[in-house]
């Protein structure tokens, strides 16, 4: 049984919203699929930060209807030989470059290479979001293009993976993947690891793990289970990143008492 499109197309890029780059991607989608419900996930992934983009894509897509098409473009290799791919996983569709951005979601699904016949004639060398990924997403969202016809299936394990962020595969160790608007440090450590309590260490400093934000005292830095299922480091009524002077890439580990 094939996946029924929801009509929703999400966009996640590092294009920002100052220039009309995202706007013209939407124009291209609407030319092919006039009734699309287009949702901006974010366009403020740090330029070329594939790891941050992958994190937010994986953590956000489950809140959308089944059959949603997610376009993700953080693409330092645009214009080179990197492949353009589609992933079907967890009843969602994903479109983007094969550079690790879709590697997380692809673990639970199947990937295909996008056939060049599906993209805009004479695509630009620098704007595949508009010329390659948007038209494919629109056609899949409209159910005009079954996934099986996107292009050849790729073997499991043949997708590009990001290098690990940590030298260890200990699930109690990780890094800060992103810092949100409020200064919370979101880590790569699954929230389930924190359930046993204890301390959270970041770059050698230790802070208590609290069940909820409300349990922290005002001005206290704590580790918390955040709303996206990962461990966060937060400062109650304040900006933890600024207070700690730390940001993306900082090393984190759970220290069990």
């Amino acid at each position: 049984v094939s996946l029924v499109p929801s009509g929703v197309v999400t966009l996640l890029t590092d294009f920002g919203t100052r220039d009309p780059y995202v706007g013209v991607m939407k124009g291209v989608i609407l030319r092919l699929f006039p009734a699309a419900q287009i949702v901006d996930l974010t366009h403020d992934i740090a330029p070329q930060d594939v790891r941050e983009g992958r994190f937010w894509l994986e953590r956000s897509f489950p809140f959308f209807p089944r059959g949603t098409v997610h376009v993700a473009v953080v693409d330092p290799g645009v214009g080179t030989v990197r492949r353009a791919i589609v992933v079907e996983a967890s009843d969602h569709l994903f479109v983007g470059p094969d550079n690790g951005l879709l590697a997380g979601v692809a673990r639970k699904g199947e990937a295909r290479s996008i056939d060049p016949s599906l993209v805009r004639e004479n695509p630009s060398r620098t704007f595949h979001g508009r010329d390659v990924f948007a038209p494919v997403a629109a056609r899949m969202g409209l159910a005009m293009l079954p996934v099986a016809e996107v292009g050849p299936a790729l073997e499991r394990g043949s997708l590009v993976e990001l290098p690990p962020s940590e030298p260890t595969d200990d699930p109690d160790c990780g890094v800060v993947v992103t810092v949100d608007r409020f200064g919370n440090l979101l880590t790569s450590i699954e929230a389930t690891r924190a359930l046993a309590g204890g301390l959270i260490e970041i770059e050698g400093r230790s802070f208590p793990l609290r069940g909820t934000y409300g349990e922290a005292a005002v001005g206290e830095i704590v580790g918390l289970v955040g709303s996206f299922g990962v461990l966060e480091i937060a400062l109650r009524d304040g900006d933890a990143a600024a207070a700690l002077g730390l940001g993306k890439g900082a090393r984190v580990r759970i220290a069990r008492e």
Copy 2:
């Protein structure tokens, strides 16, 4: 006669747009109400500035169709015992925390407490925009959930109010509530108070009240009736906030000549 939903859902938050927090709220809405017309009012309310959020909500909603559902989330108390409420007023619906944000619109309508059975199972402690307010808004927008079934009606006067911004209730006195992108200082003084002309005083300095922007000379700071029905202080072809070195909270009064 009950209110017919317009299908439009607006969002006003202090979440910013850098992280995909707003995007996932839209995903949750679309899962329940696939045809929703979702409009961003603003996501750049200053973090936790309930007064600024309340101002823009009150001043913006009348430009939307009757039966629009407005979700407002500026919520320093998320995860504590503050109530989640719905307000029906002026033929619009409003959803948000009971912390003063909806107090302005509620003056002309009725409020209800949101029944916990309507929200996502195991809502996060920190993201009620996604787990509480978005699903309720979607259900009301779809007309699946009549307002009367949201939860128990609250008595007039039982909603949380913001403390007054001024020690006086003189309608000729107020404060700067927000500074817009152009550096205009928008005050809490109703535009109707300015009709009689005179001077505007801000932190002890006086400027003329002009009928229109066009009447001000280039480089002149003036008081004006702005496009949202309040008194504004503007600098023609310039940034009044920067020129005055003043911003939110500055005291303003009309001085009649």
Copy 3:
């Protein structure tokens, strides 16, 4: 044969997205045209930079469906006697002030002055985006208002034009019109001029013209045919504007070898 509206309405302004100004424009559109597909082109045109707005409007509209209505508001003269106009050109519709913003698209089409009876009663003096342009766009997008009924046709050549950015009309000479998020300098020189190769000069410094971004070495500043059909100056894996210390208005010319 008259143009069939696509149902899409785009918005390009210098309003920013911090204040709900764009949101209320959408509310006004949806009150008249509930099924509109509204797309943000950009709201971050530099305040009052009509030239930058005109550039992005001209370069972006062709990616949208035929019959799209484009609302453009960069309007230093709001509240003065400048005309409000509609342009029909290249199978698209454009609405905005007669200040040069629509002069580019109007060259291939016809312009009309907006009849005052079509706008909101008592429009504000400062917010014609909401009170004049949005309602006209909504009515045209809904096909309720044929272009011929917008108002009297304007003679070719009677529209306000921007002063030329260059003292010469040599197509090999131009200026930097905008700098994008990545620090690329987008110029007013048509990409077709660059095909013959050679060098690009910017404020007296010369750089090679490359066919594609991929042909540049990491750290090399080059001239390129960008994805919007104009010559760009880019720094591979870097920010050319920052590296050169140059921005909008910098003079550029092609130097043929």
